[in-house]
Symmetry: C2
Subunit: 659 residues, 2 copies
């Protein structure tokens, strides 16, 4: 049965009224998109989207992503009108005010029903790709009874123009994610003016060239929208629904122009719009009949939820499914056992290789992981533990060949983590965190458990030279809130870091790993995972302590060599491994003061920028680092050239002590 | 006259021999691409590319960009064989060794003839877009007599798969850069294996959809390559030449596989390849006849260069053209005059507005600038001083609507700066440096004068919330070598920063600018541009100095308010503006010690992460900052909530002084 336009029109106008009123009250925001896409969203919500307002976390709900996040009043309107507990009308009245969950852009951590944080353009759609992958993967594992939902996206021209769009739709097209449907707000307007200011692209042809199904509709004709959505759902490819819309639709003097995009319409224009829309309710009031129509949109989803809950109750996979979706790890001492084996039989390996060894231990016992690499599988050592390629023909497997798409990979991993049920990890060279940085930030902001396996973490990669040698990257990532940056020094620390990363449900982790082999530094059993402290004393001064050497990763053994030389001269020196500064910062003051005691000369050693190290060494310490770009040469020569040897460092320490 | 295949084949094989021998000697590198594209490159060099080996810096040379930079032995071979002074055969013999200009990836600062640094995939092609824009723009200014060249690119599947490719070709297609031709090494191989592991895209259809002309050829059939290049040159659109090639062509057992991509072929396979290729010269030797054929490839270009030089000599525009291409600024005291006017008549404006005012002063008197924005023109305030849109119909103008393409914009600006003759600047929100960071790094590495106008530089942007509020960005950019990060505090500092940025020919600059209005702090004339010191005392303690407040940008006036409150209590406090830490670091020790004197309590105030500030405040100072993500609310409330007020800061200082 087709939808009734007479019923839908006032429903859509409710979105328009709330959007223009909220933006006006805040004197800030974006009315154009919610008003332009109100009709499309109303059809989606009324007939296609599977959701239960009383259970925003229902595992088998359709995922809805507002990729054009500036149009946040659209999702706030939809959630409120359809009967979610939040946002309340007061929340909407306080749009963009301190404490309201109705933030300027939708934030997944503020409001159930907001699947992901959007606003940085292009990333919502790219995260949706990850959600759609997670859905198909879990479907393969748990069957149609438990996992059988779609992923819907509303995206604007900005989302489609960003580079990440190319990467995201390339992944989706290749993996034939047919249950993903993108509703493109095709309004020919960007902030600066008409799209013809900056683009001449045939977007539909581009999507078709990338393996997508493309269908068009009049975004203000309910029947036509419904037809197009039916076609999208029916096609086995991912679908782009080009919805021809008028931005700010309903604002008679401003609609169709960029004036409606990012500013309040103003009282006069709002008044004129109310006339055009036939909307005479007071601001922030929705007439009862219209509200009732909206409240009924969740009925089908509630019913489906009930049936699903019964199936889950009767499923033999119930416990495991619930564990997976809760994101809990199985109880296991396996990491400790693995570390004990390493201590019994030390290895000298690159930490990227140590990461592969850890994965070979983890992946067989933890079905949650989905690994991958942006076309550096053999370099990142990410394919381990018997996992095979996840493909369009076999969604049940656990390794994704992301192609040369670092940003797309990172965003897809965010989407997977937010979908739940899987723990994504993926690799590239550390230097190319620059390409993915927009998504790394959204991992951190969204509190998403994504594990970045970033290898070739310094000049130690050698001959590839400055373009491939990270210098500022570890520091620049340490500066980012809620991100664990770990630079392990050997196979034991690498295993601990993996375990810590997996245990952190609400924080992403960057593992910075070497290309080159490193001696094992941890040779004794410990009572606890020492890396969990973030920084810890790995060796204590024998002579009277005058120096504390603080190092990470591939420079920890250099620090130990410096300490040995100092001790030979009767100068006591501790060695501290600062494997994760963020975790060290969380320790209590006594622990920190004990680890980095006052009075001792602090020396940091890290083959990267010295920026940030004064936090631990003070202004009177020594920072051994690299405050310039690297060079192309064998790694050993570079470490020598740039002074990362005990021979180069110890004299500086002696000078300082004697100075 | 068509090229003679019998002459070309051994020329191409010389590239193959040098490439496999150099990679083998280095025991590191990428032989597959140079061997696969040797035939195409030989045709390009022999017939199409306009170059003069004796004058790599000739302004009207064709630009050649090896976007697939890992295949660096291709360009080293081409430059050596065709008779450039560098690289010598010894340089090639020392490929990837310390001190050789033949680095792992081509570096523009090591070797004339290398137009740009490549290796980070996709960016070479994207920089070429900027070069092609610069060419058309300068052609419009100086005419066909002086500027009339093409831009050629060799790109691989990786370059085309990266997101930036979408942005770059979108700009090129829209601006109808018909003199740009991309030779795509269509070999179906990536590092992880066949391209079908990760992509199903119809690349040719995508380029066509983006306004490009597409032509194909057999990349190992000289006549077919020549035909395709003729067609590319003839078409008025930018052209993609899909060259069907075999990676590692000539290595009989490994060609066509990813095994040839990134590792030496090994002595056995090299020996077999020599048999196949009929190449019996010793390693690093090129038979005389073949070398002579190569040396003749530059003859046509040398002749053209001579004719061009005569035209330049006779041109009335000679002086101005030479100034432009040398990158020198006209002599001018205009900035000083502009600043004096500000001091005479202070303004309270946002620094983004102050930047617009500075541009209104600069753009009319400096024809070199080409401005733009990634679809935030009205927010970045980048269109000023009467410049109008540079379009396909009017290349002579000076403002580019880049669209929602931050990375593409930044890379294009790199290409423009490297082309020479223009000074590009472009804007987006500071938070979206994350999207463009890969190109910002190449600005710094390549020593390119690119000016990033990054507005909305803190929580001060208010309601848009955490996705749009930079927190870690200023610090993360400060960590990058050779990048000037400036955060001016008022209109005077903003004008000084613009002038300093323009004067720095070999460094890019990031201007971090506020959305919100700021009081003018600089109210007195100075003998010099104080911002050029990077950090300077803007106010001296009146009472005995116990405190030094160090702040940047929008927090400088907060620091001054703190100082006033402290002075009321008889506590002397200096105020230091740290407008550009990189420049401050370059001052002598005496100046630095005078500015940040020992003994005083140092307090940093910046509405961003505290990471890195201990360099100036030590471990016993106070760092007022924001070590978490922001929130959505009006800016004033956020500054209060997060403690950036004198009321919140002064008590902390008093506590510390009394503690």
């Amino acid at each position: 049965m087709s939808l009734d336009p007479a019923r839908l029109a006032p429903m859509a106008n409710a979105i328009r009224a709330l959007s223009m009123d909220a933006v006006q009250a805040a004197n800030s925001g974006h009315p154009g998109m919610p008003m332009g896409m109100a009709d499309v969203a109303t059809v989606l919500w009324s007939k296609f989207l599977k959701f239960d307002p009383s259970a925003p976390d229902w595992a088998d709900r359709d995922r809805f992503v507002l990729s054009a996040g500036h149009g946040s009043m659209l999702i706030y309107s939809l959630l409120h009108l359809s009967g979610y507990a939040q946002p309340t009308m007061d929340d909407i009245r306080n749009f963009r005010q301190l404490g309201s969950p109705c933030a300027g852009h939708p934030e997944n951590f503020l409001l159930p029903g907001v699947e992901c944080t959007t606003g940085p353009l292009g990333q919502g759609l790219a995260m949706a790709v990850g959600m759609a992958i997670a859905e198909r993967h879990l479907n393969a594992s748990f069957g149609d009874d438990l996992v059988d939902h779609k992923t819907w996206v509303i995206a604007g021209d900005g989302c489609l123009m960003e580079g990440i769009n190319h990467e995201a739709i390339g992944i989706a097209g290749h993996l034939k994610l047919g249950r993903m449907n993108v509703l493109w707000d095709d309004n020919n307007i960007t902030i600066d003016g008409g799209t013809d200011l900056s683009t001449s692209e045939d977007i539909k042809a581009r999507y078709a060239a990338t393996g997508w199904h493309v269908v068009e509709c009049d975004g203000h004709d309910f029947a036509d929208i419904e037809r197009a959505m039916h076609e999208a759902v029916a096609d086995t490819r991912p679908s782009l629904v080009a919805c021809k819309t008028v931005i700010g639709k309903g604002a008679p003097n401003k609609q169709g122009t960029s004036a409606t995009h990012g500013a309040p319409l103003g009282p006069e224009e709002i008044s004129a719009a109310r006339d055009v829309l036939g909307w005479d309710a007071a601001p922030f009031e929705v007439p009862e009949g219209i509200l009732a129509a909206w409240r009924s949109t969740g009925a089908a989803g509630s019913e489906a939820h009930g049936a699903w809950a019964s199936r889950l109750q009767n499923s033999v996979q119930k416990t495991e499914f619930e564990r997976r979706m809760a994101g809990d790890l199985p109880e296991s001492n396996a990491t400790q056992a693995y570390i004990s084996a390493l201590i019994a039989d030390p290895v000298k390996v690159a930490t990227r290789k140590a990461s592969e060894m850890a994965l070979a231990d983890i992946n067989p016992r933890l079905p949650d992981t989905i690994g991958g690499s942006a076309d550096l599988t053999g370099s990142n050592n990410t394919k381990a533990g018997g996992i095979e390629a996840l493909t369009a023909d076999n969604y049940g497997e656990r390794y994704i060949y992301y192609g040369i798409r670092e940003f797309g990979m990172a965003a897809a991993m965010n989407g997977m983590a937010l979908h739940g049920g899987v723990i994504p990890y993926g690799g590239t060279f550390l230097v190319f965190t620059d390409y993915a940085r927009g998504a790394v930030r959204l991992s951190a902001l969204q509190q998403a458990r994504v594990i970045y396996v970033m290898t070739h973490d310094s000049i130690g990669l050698g001959e590839d030279g400055p373009t491939h040698q990270p210098v500022e990257h570890v520091a620049s990532l340490r500066a980012m809130p809620n991100l664990l940056v770990m630079r392990p020094a050997d196979a034991v620390e690498t295993a601990e870091c993996w375990e810590i990363a997996l245990q952190n449900k609400t924080r992403p982790t960057v593992l910075a790993l070497t290309r080159q082999g490193l001696p094992q530094m941890r040779l004794e059993e410990a009572d606890e995972m020492l890396s969990a402290k973030g920084g810890y004393r790995i060796a204590s001064a024998k002579a009277k302590r005058k120096v504390v050497l603080v190092a990470t990763g591939s420079e920890l053994h250099v620090a130990a060599e410096c300490a040995a030389k100092l001790e030979e001269q009767g100068i006591g020196a501790d060695v501290v491994s600062m494997v994760c500064a963020e975790l060290f910062e969380e320790q209590d003051d006594a622990y920190k003061a004990d680890t980095l005691p006052a009075g001792a000369l602090k020396v940091s050693i890290e083959a990267g920028t010295t920026f940030g190290w004064e936090r631990y060494t003070g202004t009177d310490g020594i920072n051994i680092g690299l405050d310039r770009f690297g060079a192309s040469a064998p790694a050993g020569q570079l470490f020598e050239k740039f002074g990362f040897t005990a021979e180069a460092i110890v004299p500086q320490i002696l000078n300082k002590l004697n100075g």
